[in-house]
Symmetry: C4
Amino acid sequence: MLTHWRQGPVAGLRPWQRRAYTVIFLSDTPAGRRFDVALIVTILLGVVLAMLDSLDGIVGQAERSLQGLEWLVTVLFTLEYGWRLACVRRPSRYVLSFWGLVDLAALLPGYLSLLFPGAIFLSAIRILRILRIFQVLNLAGYLGAEWHLVSTLWHSRQRILVFLLSLSTLICLMGTLIFVIEGPEHGFTSIPTGMYWAVITVTTVGYGDLVPQSVLGKALASLVMLLGYAIIAVPSGLVTAKVVGQQLNDQRRCTGCGHLGHAADARFCRQCGTVLPAQGGRRASDKSDSQLADRIKHDGEVK
Amino acid sequence: MLTHWRQGPVAGLRPWQRRAYTVIFLSDTPAGRRFDVALIVTILLGVVLAMLDSLDGIVGQAERSLQGLEWLVTVLFTLEYGWRLACVRRPSRYVLSFWGLVDLAALLPGYLSLLFPGAIFLSAIRILRILRIFQVLNLAGYLGAEWHLVSTLWHSRQRILVFLLSLSTLICLMGTLIFVIEGPEHGFTSIPTGMYWAVITVTTVGYGDLVPQSVLGKALASLVMLLGYAIIAVPSGLVTAKVVGQQLNDQRRCTGCGHLGHAADARFCRQCGTVLPAQGGRRASDKSDSQLADRIKHDGEVK
Amino acid sequence: MLTHWRQGPVAGLRPWQRRAYTVIFLSDTPAGRRFDVALIVTILLGVVLAMLDSLDGIVGQAERSLQGLEWLVTVLFTLEYGWRLACVRRPSRYVLSFWGLVDLAALLPGYLSLLFPGAIFLSAIRILRILRIFQVLNLAGYLGAEWHLVSTLWHSRQRILVFLLSLSTLICLMGTLIFVIEGPEHGFTSIPTGMYWAVITVTTVGYGDLVPQSVLGKALASLVMLLGYAIIAVPSGLVTAKVVGQQLNDQRRCTGCGHLGHAADARFCRQCGTVLPAQGGRRASDKSDSQLADRIKHDGEVK
Amino acid sequence: MLTHWRQGPVAGLRPWQRRAYTVIFLSDTPAGRRFDVALIVTILLGVVLAMLDSLDGIVGQAERSLQGLEWLVTVLFTLEYGWRLACVRRPSRYVLSFWGLVDLAALLPGYLSLLFPGAIFLSAIRILRILRIFQVLNLAGYLGAEWHLVSTLWHSRQRILVFLLSLSTLICLMGTLIFVIEGPEHGFTSIPTGMYWAVITVTTVGYGDLVPQSVLGKALASLVMLLGYAIIAVPSGLVTAKVVGQQLNDQRRCTGCGHLGHAADARFCRQCGTVLPAQGGRRASDKSDSQLADRIKHDGEVK
């Protein structure tokens, strides 16, 4: 832990900054965990307030208490923002980071509404802070599995790109065709409108606000629906194959019998019982389960 | 069977209670099986009656026979409830259990309708008892596969949680955005209404009662539809990967370290290197394929 | 082939019956194949005629030629029906078989329309004969893969049953709830109507003819949509897991090293090179690929 | 590279043709890559112009600049078409090829609009050229994974055919049934209209423009929805199983019998028992990917 102080992100900070940093950015102390819980509660309160604010019927006393609570949340967020600024080594880097921008965007509407009364819609931006919940929970190590999902999708990025490109082309072509076939008199006023219809149809959403009227248009619509129905199998198949592949895919080779394909947590070859080579913890992030990663960490300590 | 009497849930019951318990709660005797069938028939009758009750057009003689049948079902349920109370060791525990509450909730509306005429809607609660069918069929051992499904989903609970959290955040953000973009004049009267629209769109249901009118709103809607179309691949992939994974692992327990979940072709424990027991089919119902399990059993016999 | 004559379904038939049977029921002769093609063409013609018949706008000369063609198809079907009756050993068995009933049902409307003019809708029943195409193509051995699909689904029948039972219960409960919440004034006139809405919502079809109006109803609808969105992963996962399982799941054990899990077409152990035990060709129809089955057949001949 | 000149598609061309061919059809030179980028930009510009063209509100100065830009794109496409014609050995073969026809179809509307003013819809055909982007990106080797997808689907073509045939039959039968049940008075004016409704319902699109009104029609609709919900699992399962299958096999070729597609842990060919070449585990995690295909190409050259 002491080594960590010397080289971690808190190196060069004054003692009170270190303590604040530990509370805000880490979650392995009781105070840090309490801060995380308080933050999530405040964010959820802010989200609920923004929702209530958007309702029309709230007037009189209720409206005034609502405004009071909103100011409370804004002040709390401001204090937290200042605290974060004070205890990081390079405040400018925090301000320009993704989370820094989100935190700022959640503050500003409250103050802007003082200058421009009626800027009610802006307060909705505060809802963005809900994203912070992910970071908090992730820091707390509760949801290591989340990274697995992201990495699963990231490994398929090339295929996802091809898939999206094909889908865009299909939507472009089908939107143009329906515009040519149906025309403005049936509501398809332009190619972009036709593309909007194609998206509605290919994703099987089917609002029904734009529907083909002519026989040819209906035939095209049937084709697009069936295509959409078939195409959905592709992303589904890619994701599944990746997840299954990661489950199967540990490529360590047994030095005794040459057997491949051992489970991620295997220490002995299942065919001849020889001790397997160690995993090389660098691939720990690729494991299919956070509990697994934890166990590997423990193994490391035991050794 | 006798040993079972001494320590099972019937220990300490009087003989007639034992007999009743066997009939109601177990299903390995002819009487028990007959009771199960009668129970399912009565429940289905109650469900059909509740449905007919909700229809408007039934009057005169038909209405009177309907009421007669309803009372018959209510009385039968009451008798069964009393019987259950009488033959369990701790009646209070049954009353407060999930099934006890369901059984009680199915009874009360009948009696309440005596006090408050017109409490017609309450009789619909009786439909809850349809859940009992699952317990009955499960007790009967017909549907062991059901537990497999539940355990499959339970093993993925962490990922399902992350998935639901991401989906909620997405719906929250998109609902706010559409509220800001479209506003009350196009039907998006509040952020919760916007979120309702986001759910309709992201799940590809697409009722069409709330549709964006502006160009920006349509662009956002297209994005949400495509996201919904892509996101559906995730739960699908997780469930599939789990089921495939369970197919590939078998349930042998290492005699050395107690580790479960070895690959089907493993001969040595991957955790401690002990020789694994041969494949013996005692947990045959857990195999992913009944024929497979049969074949493995035969292998065992041959050896 | 001669052996086949003695014990097959043509045993005891007169020579012309044998010839007719070969043409109609088998497809390994040029005449049999020509008959299959002619049958499919006639069926498709009948289907197209039934569709044209249902259109309103056809009058005058076109209507008369349509009727002429319809009578031609009816006469052709009658001749075929008589031919089939004449060349099977037990005509009554054919008449009462599934295909016999379909064939008869396709004939009758034509003759009934003589007695009851205006029985136009009955002619639509003829479209049922389109099912015959599957039998014809299957007999021709073109589509062996079809059986694989059916067997894949059949192997999962227990899980599919549990899935359907759960879905029915869910639809029942949700239909009742929405009926209680929304009531007749919002279009939910009875529990069955509520269940119809639940089906529309849970399958993500979303016609939009029945939509909840109250806040509580919308909340329930959101829940049902998300459930439907999640539930769809289950059948998808089950089918996929079955197909993947069949790809991986050849359980032959190598007599040399005891290795399991060889590919379906493997003849040598991939771990030690020992010759594997033969597959027992009776399971050839279970292979995941008809081409594979072909290769196994050829292997059989080589041996 | 010189060998390539002698036997490749540029053999027998004059030096300037060779240079032009390299720029247009290949992308392994800086000039070739610049041409590809310029082509994609021009196509995207053409697509955007076609979309703007379809909007109603553009008049005056904006309309004139739009027309100017459209002529620029048409002229650029014409120049490119001529260039392609000039530098291939057999121009007629290019003209009649798929891409040649697409390129020509993208040109003609511009010139036809001179003869027939008001042929505004024709300009939309130009959007077809967007397909060219795939060829360009593919030539550039960026998206080798695309072929993987196509080959995955191509391997399942027989099953996809069976699936489509079953779906068509289902739609045919359900369309006829709903026509007979609901009839013209509820909007189901003919069997094809009924089939259009069946497509809308089975694909879970659910526009809501055609909805059953009678109880029997609603029951049929519920059945069709649930069928559609179940059927979607089939293509999903087929695609996934194929992708998983391809991941599990690797691309080593047996030196004895030339068999491809061995399991990742195989040491002996499963067809002839020959010892397989070693895996070279360095890129083990990256299988199933276009980079793999590249290595195979390079291996070929090395040999």
